[in-house]
């Protein structure tokens, strides 16, 4: 087995996502170059993980810019909701008025028929 064959998986071994098979493990145990590489990957990955806790502060003004954008988006959303709400109310009112008109027409028609019946007899 060659160092280059193992080099492909040493970093993955260092982060624990891959286990070396027996042949590879035997090679690493006897190969100073691969051992050194494995140690370097472990140090590298450990150091990369420590960067997670580091916060790089932005220049002043970013928070205000984000909040202004979010606020503007919120206002646009509110206006759209209001308009769509009014549209629904308008259409609802129109439907109710139509239904009421139709109902009134039926009532009037029925009454006028009833009124004509005695005359027919």
């Amino acid at each position: 087995m060659l160092c280059d064959d193992i080099g492909e998986v040493l970093a993955a071994t260092a982060d624990g996502s891959v286990s070396l098979d027996d042949a590879a493990r035997r090679h690493v145990e006897q190969c100073l170059r691969c051992q050194a590489e494995l140690v370097q990957y472990r140090k590298l990955l450990r150091t990369l993980r420590t960067l997670r806790t580091e916060v790089l502060e932005p220049a002043p003004g970013l928070l205000a810019e984000i909040l202004a954008q979010v606020e503007a988006a919120g206002e646009r959303h509110a206006v759209r909701s209001l308009l769509s709400g009014r549209r629904v109310a308008y259409l609802g009112g129109l439907a109710a008025a139509t239904a009421a008109g139709a109902g009134a027409a039926i009532v009037l028609t029925t009454r006028s028929r009833k009124a004509r019946l005695p005359l027919a007899g």
Partner: protein, 193 residues
């Protein structure tokens, strides 16, 4: 802290604007840090963060809460950063080949190498030298612990491509942070073929 963020998320999902703004206040430095690590440019990072919060605001109702809010935000930030880098590439015709990039002026003193703070500075320097598409993968995987699947989804690449990039990025980082391997050049060339 996490529970408080979860409470704020719940309120924001119900339309509480102030709750969302509080979420921004608590997380924007962290998001900016990620954006800066991914783009390597302060102006790009600012644009990315603003775009990320707008998208988070608009998509908050789709956030199901099965992941942490911050993880969800990282994914959005990664996606926005990838888009920003694509735009930058188109506009500036930046060379993104992973074999390009300046050689780090490294101090080879083993005693200095052993120092943790110095090692951290070296890693940060080496990260900055990585091409953006390699840097994005290694930052999201090894710094922010995002799974390969999520990284691939947000960067718009396949999962296998994400793994290949991660491997290349780690190799380049190692060779920058721990210089001195005589055969490194030969190996790089062999893999580039």
């Amino acid at each position: 802290m996490t529970a408080e963020l979860a409470d704020l998320v719940a309120l924001a999902k119900e339309g509480d604007q102030q709750a969302f703004e509080e979420l921004v206040r608590r997380t924007y430095s962290d998001s900016y840090t990620l954006a800066l690590r991914l783009t390597g440019d302060e102006d790009d990072a600012r644009d990315v963060v603003q775009e990320s919060y707008l998208r988070a605001y608009r998509g908050l109702k789709r956030f199901r809460g099965d992941a942490q809010f911050t993880t969800w935000l990282y994914r959005i930030t990664a996606n926005c950063a990838a888009n920003q880098l694509r735009r930058r590439t188109r506009h500036r015709h930046e060379e993104l080949d992973e074999d390009s990039g300046p050689v780090m002026d490294a101090d080879h003193d083993p005693a200095v190498l052993a120092d943790a703070a110095d090692l951290r500075a070296r890693v940060e320097g080496a990260l900055a030298l990585l091409p953006p598409r390699l840097r994005a993968v290694v930052v999201l995987r090894d710094v922010y612990d995002l799974p390969h699947e999520a990284i691939a989804a947000e960067l718009g690449i396949s999962e296998s491509a994400a793994k290949v990039r991660l491997h290349r990025a780690r190799r380049k980082l190692r060779s920058e942070v721990f210089p001195g391997r005589e055969d490194e050049q030969d190996e790089e060339q062999a893999h580039a073929v």
